[in-house]
């Protein structure tokens, strides 16, 4: 049996067009927007409007109407300006667009530095900010496998790009080749399709540079051997990485368009050295250099492997840098902004 006073408060909170503070019986508080209610619970969007939370009525001690009532505000504004109109030159977007950036998500610091070079900016504290052709860009290095969602929430972009290195799955792809992804599938075969208009914009900008369009497979472990890559290639995917699926998912959850622009480091028939198979934190030199030196000490073949890998990574880096130089102005001018 719900306390009638609480039931009344819940109805008021449901009708309220602002945030409320739910005081829980355990002493904690939750600030959010009550968008629905049932006989024994309320449904709440958290303050950032990213998470839905169900709270049992039995856990609620009280409700405060702590946020501004948007309906009241709208009525007050209308009353104040009754009869007068907004001027003709009010921005067509009503203030909702223009300042939102394109977010470039990388996993490795090295990839972030490529972003910085291509955009003529410098990388600071895991991030890059730049303005190119009138458009704002943010680069964020989030590490391997995660962090994309918090980057999207933090930067509130208008589009998201998964940017960096990849492994080749298709035998045609050689180190330094570019892949513009049509979509990504995870290891379970779940697919997310890239935003078509955004991809078309990028493809037009890359024309003349030479690139492949196709699907990327996103894995949770490094695909280091030709056998592992052959298995992943069976559905026709062109390349493999460990970042694009979380980026695509985070963009999709935020209702944002995304694309992936990757460059091949290791071809389908090549084997990565053991130290490169470990997904180190953002590829810090402090992690890679000692491991690479240790590997080089194992013999001349290892040294040759290292030289080849360094050369291929340089090729891939140069391709990415040139690609982003060409794509950035097109993304800045892209009309699909919010």
């Amino acid at each position: 049996m719900t306390d009638p006073r609480l039931a009344e408060l819940v109805e008021q909170a449901f009708d309220y067009r602002g945030y409320v503070t739910l005081r829980r019986t355990d002493g904690s508080a939750l600030v959010g927007f009550v968008y629905d209610r049932g006989p024994s619970h309320v449904e709440v969007f958290d303050e950032a409007a990213t998470t839905r939370i169900r709270v049992a009525l039995a856990d609620i001690a009280g409700i405060e109407f702590s946020g501004e009532d948007a309906a009241r505000k709208s009525q007050d504004i209308w009353e104040r300006r009754k009869g007068t109109l907004e001027p003709r030159d009010t921005p067509a977007s009503g203030g909702w667009e223009q300042t939102r950036p394109v977010l470039l998500v990388t996993a490795l610091d090295r990839e972030l530095r490529i972003v910085a070079r291509a955009l003529g900016a410098s990388a600071r504290e895991g991030g890059v900010r730049a303005r190119v052709a009138g458009g704002d860009f943010v680069g964020a290095c989030v590490g391997i496998g995660g962090g994309a969602r918090s980057a999207v929430e933090r930067h509130e972009p208008r589009a998201v790009v998964s940017f960096g290195f990849a492994g080749g799955l298709d035998a045609r792809l050689r180190p330094g080749d570019l892949v513009l992804s049509t979509g990504v599938q995870d290891e379970g075969g779940q697919r997310i399709t890239a935003a078509q208009p955004l991809r078309a914009t990028a493809a037009a900008a890359l024309r003349g540079l030479g690139f492949f369009e196709g699907e990327i497979v996103c894995t949770t472990a490094v695909a280091a051997t030709p056998d592992a890559k052959r298995t992943l290639a069976k559905d026709g995917a062109l390349a493999v990485d460990m970042e694009t699926e979380p980026v695509a998912r985070a963009a999709g959850e935020a209702g944002l368009p995304w694309l992936a622009l990757r460059a091949i480091v290791d071809a389908a028939d090549s084997t990565l050295p053991p130290f490169a198979r470990e997904a180190g934190n953002r590829g810090h030199l402090t992690h890679f250099v000692p491991a690479a030196l240790k590997y080089a000490a194992s013999g001349p073949r290892a040294v040759a492997d290292l030289i080849r890998l360094a050369r291929d990574a340089r090729r891939a880096g140069a391709a990415l840098e040139e690609a982003l130089r060409r794509v950035a102005p097109a993304l800045a001018a892209w009309g699909g902004s919010a």
Binding site: A49, A71, E86, A195, G335, A338
Partner: protein, 338 residues
Amino acid sequence: MGIPVAQMAAVTKYVLKQRLIGRERYPLVLMLEPLFRCNLACTGCGKIQYPVSLLKKNLSVEDCLRASDECGAPVVSIAGGEPLLHPQITDIAHGLVSRGRFVYLCTNALLLERKLDSFQPSKYLSFSVHMDGPRAEHDLSVCREGVYDEAVKAIRAALARGFRVTTNTTLFEGVDPERMRRFFDDMMELGVEGMMVSPGYSYEKAPDQEHFLRRERSHRLFARMLGEPKRTWRFNQSPLFLQFLMGKRDFECTPWGNPTYNIFGWQRPCYLLQDGYAKTFRELMEDTDWSRYGRKSGNPRCQDCMVHCGFEPTAVRAAFDSPRAMGATFAAMVTGRL
């Protein structure tokens, strides 16, 4: 009439199928609200009064397409908020069109001209431009100078590129029937495919609470406005619905006819009232107590409502209920008389 033959055929096939399988309640138009933010703050709108973090939220393309698949309605009206502020609106429209849905993308047209490049003309896609009457009335309704002129310019640009364009007009207390008749002439001269008209709903959260039409006033207004309709006028609506607005027919609301999906879920019970949300379309249809809605229910919020989202589905169903009603529909379509 302004309804394309292909759309009429699709809706007819759909309705006949529903009747053959004995489905009592079925949707005709999905009202898809992929966002709530808008670049205008219209006097009679109760849709956009939310905290900023909720206004920034977008439904993802996948959410929108899934909602359409779940619902199955042959027509999708993309409303909002201003849909052209959605960063993936072209993907949403494209996805719906490729599913064979007839899409009405409702817009105030302020951003239409600059976004036209990202859309492809299609018999399945129509821009439904918000036009609340002649220049002075429209600008007053949307609370901004110059919006009528911008909309006319955008309509011309869209038509020149081969897009389908319709208008949607919401009417409030104080409108002059003679001026509206001249407005219909103007829209036809402009070359729009068809017009939609409806009295506004008295949203509780709308800033202006004084100018919503009551039922008898609506009948009188529409009878004067649509009486002796000109043969040049084309309405993208059921003639029986227009006759209902004129007071020539009495219909009960079909609240499930135009189900609404937005960032909160499936809105109960209809596009206009917010009594809660269902997680799935099936839950909406099966778990909503429909007897609480419509004029006969005695629900005070339904007494003056004559909005097309509730009564157009009734009019369409009525046309299939008897040869006489079907005949009346065809006669009105052929002769243009109401």
